[in-house]
């Protein structure tokens, strides 16, 4: 029984336990904190699956955005209220049954053909980048990425709409936390730039860079150095629009060609960097906005620490 297998088994058990605890645990503090732990364990799982790109995104979004969103939501109402209902005890058997059915369905599958894999490695040379995941995201399946950015945009509009009549919030200043933030945020900007640049030839890229940028904004907001959004300023909206706009401008010439968003091989490298830079800006603002639009004002008892 080698160390790798033991590692996977323990990690799997931890994932199941933290997920079950987050969903079935009594009070909501425990639920949200266990869910944050679940995110950290997922990061490890992606590392085990040799998917460092996903691990980067999971780490940045889980640690920087999801946790803050959920903890902020906890503060809103009576946190710690026990969850009642006999349905909790119905739940595990039902989940077990579904899991057995699904896992059973996996057994009949033929071996993976790997056609896509081969297609990617065959076309990688003409993609303009040497990192396959980036090539898939920005070149081979660029239209998916473009539409995905529009989905994020729609989500942000929805959040802004739902939080419309909330008053503009700015948390009370926390001097010592601000001092630490002044050190951390420049490193976040640096890391975001590094990830953006790295995407061309190794794990990294616009999504991870944007997630780190958004995490920086979340931190600034949490220590009272950045106010929440009610109506984004014009500059903000332009920055949000930059990514899709550049993407479409680059796509426009490709419409006469056969494939949508097929980049000309000779310029692909530069075009991808251009698109990724614009996407990082937009996605950073969008992801940050998801938190900033939901930011509530201080309520009684806040402001310490």
């Amino acid at each position: 029984m080698n160390a790798d297998l033991v590692f996977d088994l323990v990690l799997g058990a931890g994932l199941l336990w933290s997920a079950a605890g987050a969903l079935l645990g009594r009070d909501r503090y425990g639920a949200v904190i266990l869910f944050i732990v679940f995110g950290l364990l997922m990061t490890l799982a992606w590392v085990r699956l040799a998917a460092p790109d996903i691990a980067l995104a999971e780490a940045a979004i889980g640690a920087g955005l999801t946790g803050a969103l959920l903890l902020d939501a906890l503060g809103g109402d009576s946190a710690g209220t026990a969850q009642r209902g006999a349905s909790r005890w119905l739940l595990l058997p039902l989940a077990g049954a579904i899991a057995i059915l699904l896992a059973g369905a996996l057994r009949g599958l033929p071996a993976p053909s790997g056609e896509l894999r081969e297609a990617v490695s065959a076309a990688l040379a003409h993609s303009g980048v040497s990192h396959p995941v980036t090539a898939v995201l920005l070149n081979f399946r660029g239209y998916d990425t473009l539409l995905e950015v529009s989905v994020l945009l729609a989500a942000l509009l929805g959040v802004l709409g739902a939080a419309r009549d909330a008053r503009p919030a700015r948390l009370s200043a926390a001097p010592l936390l601000q001092a630490a933030t002044r050190v951390l945020v420049p490193f976040m900007l640096l890391t975001a730039g590094y990830l953006l640049w790295a995407g061309a030839h190794r794990p990294g890229g616009a999504f991870q860079a944007a997630a780190v940028l958004a995490a920086g904004a979340v931190l600034l907001a949490l220590v009272g150095m950045l106010g929440g959004w009610t109506r984004p300023a014009l500059r903000t909206r332009l920055a949000i629009a930059a990514g899709p706009a550049v993407f479409l401008l680059v796509a426009a010439p490709s419409f006469e060609r056969t494939l949508l968003l097929q980049l000309p091989p000779q310029h692909a490298g530069r075009l991808i960097l251009l698109i990724e830079a614009a996407l990082t800006l937009s996605l950073g603002f969008i992801l940050a906005g998801l938190f900033l639009a939901l930011l509530r004002g201080d309520t009684a008892g806040d402001g310490q620490a």
């Binding site: 199941l16 959920l70 969850q83 989940a95 899991a99 959040v159």
Partner: protein, 93 residues
């Protein structure tokens, strides 16, 4: 058993847990968490199955990468609607 297949099966279990919780739990916040667990399980199945022969496959990895970002956006939207719900409930007599 390849670790790809292992994580695919693990993903099935997580997906099932999240699905059952989404259906059965009453608390809205738990449902949001359950929805996320469901998503993570689906992602694991997607990548794990594609790599069950132990070879890295960039295509599902790219899809899941964008999926994670969409999932957090959906979570934020759900939380926004949740708060809206609390406000309207509070205002009703």
């Amino acid at each position: 058993m390849s670790s790809g297949l292992f994580y695919a099966i693990l993903g099935c279990a997580l997906f099932a847990l999240g699905l059952a919780a989404t259906l059965l739990l009453r608390e809205a916040l738990r449902r949001v968490l359950a929805f996320n667990v469901m998503g993570s399980g689906g992602f694991l199945v997607f990548v794990g199955l594609a790599q069950r022969d132990g070879v890295v496959d960039p295509v599902p990895q790219a899809m899941v990468l964008t999926g994670i970002v969409v999932a957090v956006a959906a979570t934020a939207l759900a939380l926004a609607l949740l708060r809206r719900l609390e406000q309207t409930d509070a205002h009703e007599p």
